[in-house]
Symmetry: C2
Subunit: 283 residues, 2 copies
C-alpha cells in the first residue's frame, strides 16, 4: 500500500531523477507535472513500485532514451566487480561463510538510485561495514536450511552492481539449484539481463527475465513464463525493498533480504532505516 | 518563481499539516490529492506562497475550521510573551539597541509552521541564540537611517508569536511612525488582527489587515485600502520568507528581514539555510 510518505517520496525521486540525469528545465517540469498528476490519480492501494514504473516510463519517453541509467549502472557494476576478490576472500576466510555472504548481499542493496539511503553510494564502505553488520542470525540459519531442503531456488535480483554483491550467496546456494530473475527491461538502475551479463553473473548462473519494468515484482505485470517459474519454485529469495513491497502479501515461502530505506518500510518491518533485514514469509 | 524544490516542499508541507492537525486518513488523502492536482496545474511562474494559500484553503474547507492553527498560534504567542521581559532587558542593556532588536525580530521568524526549520520550535533557544547572531551590521545601519528619515513605516508582520519578537524593533521604529499589516484572515500560523490583539501589539500600535489569506503579501490579492497604504508608505519593513517571495520583484524601497529556511531562498539570497538576512531592495 502506498501512503502519504510514499507520495512525498515519489516527488522527491522525480526531482532526484531529473537532476541525476541532467534533464533541462522544460523536461524536468514536464516530468514533475506528470508525476503530480499520476500520483493524484493513482490507486493508493497499489504498492509504490508501480508508481516508480510510471515515473521511469515517463523519463524514458521524455528523454527518448530506453536506458537512461545505463552509464550509472555500468559504473556501479565496475566498482562492485573491483571488490569481488575481497568479497570472495571474506567469505572463504569466514567461520560462517553463509552468514558473511548474506551480509554482503544485503549490503549491496545500498546501490539504489530510487529510494536512496544517502547522497552518494560508496560500495567499498558498504562492503567493509557489512562484515560485522547486525543481522538476525537465527533467520539466516532458517534460510540456510531452507536452501538445503529446496530442490530449486528462485532468486529475485534487484539492482545493477548489487547483483555482484549477491555473487557469493548465489555460489553458496549453488549454481545447479538457483535461477536468477531480473527485470524485463530497464527501469531506474534495476538489473536487466544485460546488466547480469556485464557483471559476469550470466556466465555462471541461469538468468531469466521477469518480463516487467516495475522496480519490484508485480506478478500481474510479469510474463506468463516468469509467473509459472515463480509459482513452481520450492523457495524464493527476494532482494530489495521494491520486491518486498510488491510481494509481501503473497501466499508463498519467501525470504526477503534488504536494507530498510524509508519510514514506510521501517514501519512495515518494525526496524529502523539502515537495518539489514531478513524477513521470512511463510506460505 | 516556484521551482521543483518548492513542489516537493508543497507535498511535504501538506503531509506535515495533515499530521500537525491530526486529520484522519480520509481527509489526509483527500488533501494530498488536492495538493497534487493543484501543484500539477499551477502556473509555476507565480510565487510559492500562492500555493500555500490554496493548500490551507483546502485544509480549512476539509476540516470545516476557519482557523485550524488557532491553538498552536495561541501557544506560540504565550511562549513568546513569557520571554518579553527578557527581550526588553536585552535591548535596554544593549550597547546597540537597534541591532539587538533586529536580531530578536529575525530570530522570531523561527516560529513558522509552513517552511519549518526544524521539527520543534523552541522560542527560548531562538531568543538566546539571537543575541549574538551574525547579521549584516552595515545593512542594519542603513535600515536604522532609513527609519529615521521616513515619515511613516509600514511593517509587514509574519507569524503569530513572531510579532512578539518584533515588539522591541517596533518600539524603536516608534509608535507614531509605524503601521503594522497582518493577514486578512487565518492562513497557517500567520498573524491576523486577532493574533495581534492577543499579543498586546494591537493595544500599542496601529494594526491593519492586508485583506488577503496568502501567507505572504501578494498585492493582487490584497484589499484596495491596503494596496493604497503600501504604495504611499515611505519605507516598508517586511518580515519572513513568504513576504520576501511575494515582494522581492517590487519596485519599492523595502527592507526584508527573515531567516533562510529552504534551498530556493538560499539560492535567491546567496545565504545558507538558517542565515539571519537583512536584504534591502531599492526603488
Amino acid at each position: 500500500m502506498t501512503n502519504l510518505d510514499c507520495i512525498e517520496c515519489f516527488v522527491r525521486q522525480t526531482l532526484g531523477a531529473a537532476r541525476d540525469l541532467g534533464l533541462d528545465e522544460e523536461r524536468s517540469t514536464a516530468l514533475m507535472r506528470r508525476t503530480l498528476l499520476m500520483a493524484a490519480k493513482m490507486d493508493w492501494r497499489l504498492p509504490p513500485p508501480l508508481m516508480g514504473r510510471d515515473i521511469h516510463r515517463a523519463i524514458r519517453e521524455l528523454t527518448g532514451d530506453s536506458d537512461p541509467y545505463m552509464g550509472q549502472k555500468i559504473k556501479a557494476t565496475d566498482r562492485a566487480l573491483a571488490l569481488l576478490p575481497e568479497m570472495e576472500a571474506a567469505v572463504a576466510d569466514s567461520r560462517d561463510p553463509f552468514l558473511t555472504a548474506i551480509r554482503i548481499s544485503i549490503a549491496g542493496n545500498v546501490i539504489d538510485l530510487g529510494a536512496k539511503l544517502g547522497d552518494k553510494i560508496d560500495e567499498r564502505a558498504a562492503f567493509l561495514d557489512a562484515i560485522d553488520a547486525d543481522v538476525d542470525e537465527e533467520a539466516v540459519g532458517r534460510l540456510e536450511r531452507a536452501v538445503l531442503e529446496a530442490g530449486d531456488v528462485l532468486f529475485l535480483a534487484d539492482n545493477a552492481g548489487e547483483i555482484v554483491f549477491d555473487r557469493q550467496l548465489l555460489e553458496l546456494i549453488g549454481q545447479k539449484k538457483v535461477t536468477i530473475a531480473v527485470r524485463g527491461s530497464p527501469t531506474i538502475n534495476d538489473a536487466t539481463i544485460e546488466d547480469a551479463r556485464r557483471s559476469g553473473i550470466a556466465d555462471r548462473f541461469r538468468v531469466i527475465s521477469n518480463g516487467s519494468d516495475v522496480p519490484g515484482t508485480w506478478l500481474e505485470d510479469c510474463s506468463d513464463e516468469f509467473v509459472a517459474r515463480f509459482e513452481a519454485a520450492d523457495l524464493i529469495v527476494s532482494k530489495g525493498q521494491g520486491n518486498y513491497e510488491t510481494l509481501y502479501t503473497m501466499d508463498r515461502h519467501i525470504f526477503f533480504l534488504f536494507l530498510v530505506k524509508c519510514p514506510t518500510v521501517a514501519m512495515m518491518t518494525g526496524s529502523p532505516k539502515g537495518t539489514f533485514v531478513i524477513e521470512e514469509k511463510e506460505r
